[in-house]
Symmetry: C2
Subunit: 412 residues, 2 copies
C-alpha cells in the first residue's frame, strides 16, 4: 500500500498550459484536413480559407418584378408627363432574378406602372441606370474569400459555397476519442444490479458531450481495476484513436491505477489540479496523443470534460465549440471555497422583476442531480474564499434548454 | 395578368398568433410521443415527466477511500489519545462507492489514519454517524421526478435516467418537414449553369436550420413555376409529412403561385407580414398541418425560418430549440426602417476596450454575404423608424462560431 496519498495542486490555467505545451511539442494540433462534399459539410469546421469559384450572381439580374428599360430613354418622364413604352421595342417584362440582357440597364417595379395590357405601359418617373439591377458579383466576387479557416459551416455558409460554385470544402477531420470506463464496483446500467455493484453512467456524459463538441466517441467495454487491462485498453486506444480518456481511478487509493498506467505508456504532465470538483485529474501525453484520467464522480467527470477536453477540442478545431454565455445575478446564499482552489458551484436561476436570483445547489461531486437541476455554474476563482449573500455574481449558463433562460433576452 | 399587386402588412406578432390559433384549432400541437431507449435519447425532448425507477445510490455507500467504522466506538479518540482499531473486528477497508455494510455507520478517510500495515490502524479523531457516508437515495429518491415534460435530454439527464433505472423515455416525435423548392429560373448548384439559370441554394438553409432545430427534413426535387406541379408536391407533402414549406413564389408576380395553391388545398391565414426581409411570407393550414410559403431571397428565407418555422417547432416541442442571446453595443452608423415594419439588420460586431461596436452590413435581402458575415441581428421594431449613430442597441447573436463572440464572456 502506498503511503503517499496527496496529489499535486497545480493551478487550473497552469495545468492546461503545461499539457498543451507538451501536445504542441508532439505536433498534436497539426491536423490533416479532410475534403468533403459541401452538401455534407453542415456544422463542420473549415481547415483552410474557402474562395468563391464564381461570382454570385454570376450574371446581371433583375432585383424586382417589373419591366427592364433603358434609363436614358426614360429621362423626361414625370408625374404630369407620362412616357409611353412598347413591349419589345422599349421594354421587356422581367421577374426577380431574371437575367438582364445587355440592352437594358434599369428595372421599373410593376407597382409603379400604369398599363392596360402587357404590350404597352406608361411610366411617370424616370429610371436611373442600375435601378433595381443586381450587378454580377454583387454578393460575392469570383476569387473572394467566403470563409476563413476555423469557421463553422453554418447553413448560410453552405448556401454561400454552393452559390459560389464551391462543391467540396476542406474541413478539420473529426477527432476520434476512445473512452475507457473502469471500476470493479461498476456494471452496465442496462442490466439488473448484482450486490455491491453500481450502474456505470459516466459513459453517457462522455458520449453526450463529445457528440456535442464534434468528436467521434468510441466506448471501450467497462473493465475492472486491473493495471494490465487498463494498460492494454489505453494502448489499443493510442493505436486506433486520436485522444484517450480513462474514467476513473485517478486518485491515490488502492484501486487508482490510471496515473501509473499513463506513466508507463508516456509522460504525465499533471496529476492533481486545484479545482473542485475534479481535483484528481491526470493529464498526459503518449505516442504524441493526449491522455486524460477523468475523476469518477459525475460532477468531477463533467468538470474535467469542460475544463480540459473542451479546450483541447477547441484548440484542435481552432474554433469555439460551445458558447460561453454568462449572466449576472444576485447570490441568494453565501458560498465558500478554499483559497487557492477554483470551485464550480452549480446554481439554479430565478428571474424576478427583471433581475436574476442565483440559488446555489447543495449537491456534492457525487450528485448528478446538482448538474441536472442546474441552470448555470458560478466559478469561485482560486483567489477568493467565496462570495457573500447579496453579491452580484457572474453565472456561466449551461445548455440544458430550461425555457426561462434560453428564451428570454438579456443584454450584455 | 393580375392588377392587384399589393400584399397584406400583417404585424409580425399578429401573423404568428393568427396562424398558431388556426393550428391549435386543428390540434396540430397535440403530438403523439415516441418511446426510445435512453441510451439513444441524447438531445431529444421529453414528452412526459420522467420518474426515477430506483433510488440513486440504490444502497448506502462510502463517499471516500478509507475505513468503515462504528462511530460510537470511536467516541474517545483524540490527538493525544489515539484509538487502536483492528481490521475485521473494528473496521474494514473501503473505497469510494463501496457498499457500506449495515455494521458500520461512518467512514474515516485514509489521509487521517496512522497505520503500519493493513491489519491495524490508529485513529486520532472521533467519527460521527454518517461521516463520509452516502445514504441511499441521496442523489435521487425512488419515484422522484428526474425531468419535467419539454426538457432536453442533456448528457447529464441521460446519465441520471440510467442511474435511476429508467431505460426508455417518452420523447416528442421529431417533426417531419417537407421542403418544396420551386422556380423556373433555378437549377441544381451541383451542375454547370445553363444560360438564364441560377443555382438553387436555399435548400441548404432549410436542411441546415431544420437539422439544428431537431426536425427531419425531406427535400422535394426542384420544380418549375407550374400550379399543378406545386399543388401535387404540396399535396404529397401533406400526405406524408407534418409540415410543408414551399420556396418561393410567395409574392404577387406572374409566377407567384404559392398562395393560390395553398388556398386551393386549405386556408391561408396570412399573406404578407410587415417585416423586412421576408414580407411576402404565406402562412396557411391544410389537412390540419402547417403550410409556409417562404420568400425566395436568401435573407428573407432565413428570416421566415427564424420568425415562423423556429417558433412553430418550439411550440411543437414545448421546448426552446435555440438560445436568444443578446448583447448591447454602440451603433456605428444610423439605420433606417419604415414605420410599421420590423427590420432585421444584419450587423458585424467589434469588441473594443470592453465595449462592443455594432456595424450594420449593407446587403439587401438577396445578399447571402450579409448573413454569412453577420455576427448578429439588430431588430428595428415596427414602432421605430430606425436607430441613430451612437445609440446603444440590443443585438441578437447568431450561432456562427466566430471566435471573438462565442468565446468571450458577457454579463447580463
Amino acid at each position: 500500500m502506498v503511503k503517499q496519498v496527496y496529489l499535486d495542486k497545480t493551478p487550473l490555467d497552469l495545468a492546461q498550459k503545461r499539457w498543451f505545451q507538451a501536445l504542441e511539442s508532439a505536433h498534436f494540433f497539426r491536423t490533416v484536413p479532410e475534403s468533403v462534399p459541401t452538401t455534407e459539410a453542415f456544422e463542420r469546421v473549415t481547415a483552410a480559407p474557402v474562395v468563391a469559384a464564381r461570382a454570385v450572381p454570376h450574371v446581371r439580374t433583375s432585383a424586382m418584378d417589373g419591366i427592364a428599360v433603358r434609363a436614358a430613354q426614360t429621362a423626361g418622364a414625370g408625374l404630369d408627363r407620362p412616357l409611353g413604352l412598347r413591349r419589345g421595342r422599349d421594354f421587356v417584362w422581367v421577374d426577380t432574378g431574371d437575367n438582364l440582357s445587355p440592352d437594358f440597364d434599369a428595372v421599373v417595379v410593376i407597382e409603379a406602372l400604369d398599363f392596360a395590357d402587357e404590350e404597352a405601359v406608361e411610366l411617370r418617373q424616370a429610371a436611373f441606370p442600375g435601378q433595381n439591377v443586381r450587378p454580377e458579383g454583387e454578393d460575392f466576387a469570383e476569387g473572394q474569400t467566403l470563409l476563413a479557416a476555423g469557421q463553422r459551416l453554418t447553413p448560410e455558409a453552405v448556401a454561400a459555397c454552393l452559390a459560389a460554385g464551391v462543391l467540396r470544402v476542406e474541413v478539420v477531420r473529426r477527432p476520434s476519442v476512445f473512452v475507457v470506463p473502469t471500476g470493479s464496483e461498476l456494471t452496465s446500467p442496462l442490466e439488473a444490479l448484482p450486490p455491491g455493484k453500481y450502474p456505470e453512467t459516466n459513459s453517457a456524459l462522455f458520449l453526450g458531450y463529445l457528440r456535442r463538441w464534434g468528436a467521434q466517441a468510441t466506448l471501450h467495454p467497462l473493465i475492472e481495476d486491473d493495471p494490465t487491462s487498463i494498460a492494454n485498453a489505453v494502448s489499443r486506444g493510442l493505436d486506433e484513436h486520436d485522444i484517450v480518456l480513462v474514467n476513473a481511478g485517478t486518485s491515490k487509493g488502492r484501486e487508482d491505477l490510471t496515473a501509473s498506467v499513463f506513466e508507463r505508456l508516456g509522460q504525465v504532465q499533471v496529476h492533481g489540479v486545484s479545482m473542485h470538483p475534479g481535483h484528481p485529474v491526470v493529464l498526459g501525453v503518449a505516442r504524441n496523443k493526449p491522455l486524460v484520467g477523468v475523476p469518477g464522480y459525475p460532477v468531477a467527470t463533467w468538470a474535467t470534460l469542460e475544463q480540459f477536453v473542451l479546450p483541447l477540442l477547441e484548440k484542435y478545431y481552432a474554433c469555439p465549440l460551445q458558447s460561453r454565455r454568462t449572466l449576472s445575478g444576485t447570490l441568494e446564499r453565501s458560498v465558500h471555497s478554499p483559497l487557492g482552489e477554483v470551485e464550480f458551484v452549480r446554481v439554479r436561476l430565478e428571474r424576478v422583476d427583471g433581475g436574476v436570483r442565483v440559488h446555489p445547489l447543495t449537491g456534492k461531486a457525487s450528485a448528478l442531480s446538482s448538474l441536472v437541476q442546474a441552470d448555470g455554474v458560478l466559478d469561485v476563482p482560486a483567489a477568493l474564499s467565496g462570495y457573500a449573500q447579496g453579491e452580484s455574481v457572474p453565472v456561466r449558463l449551461l445548455h440544458n434548454g430550461r425555457p426561462v433562460f434560453e428564451r428570454e433576452q438579456n443584454d450584455g
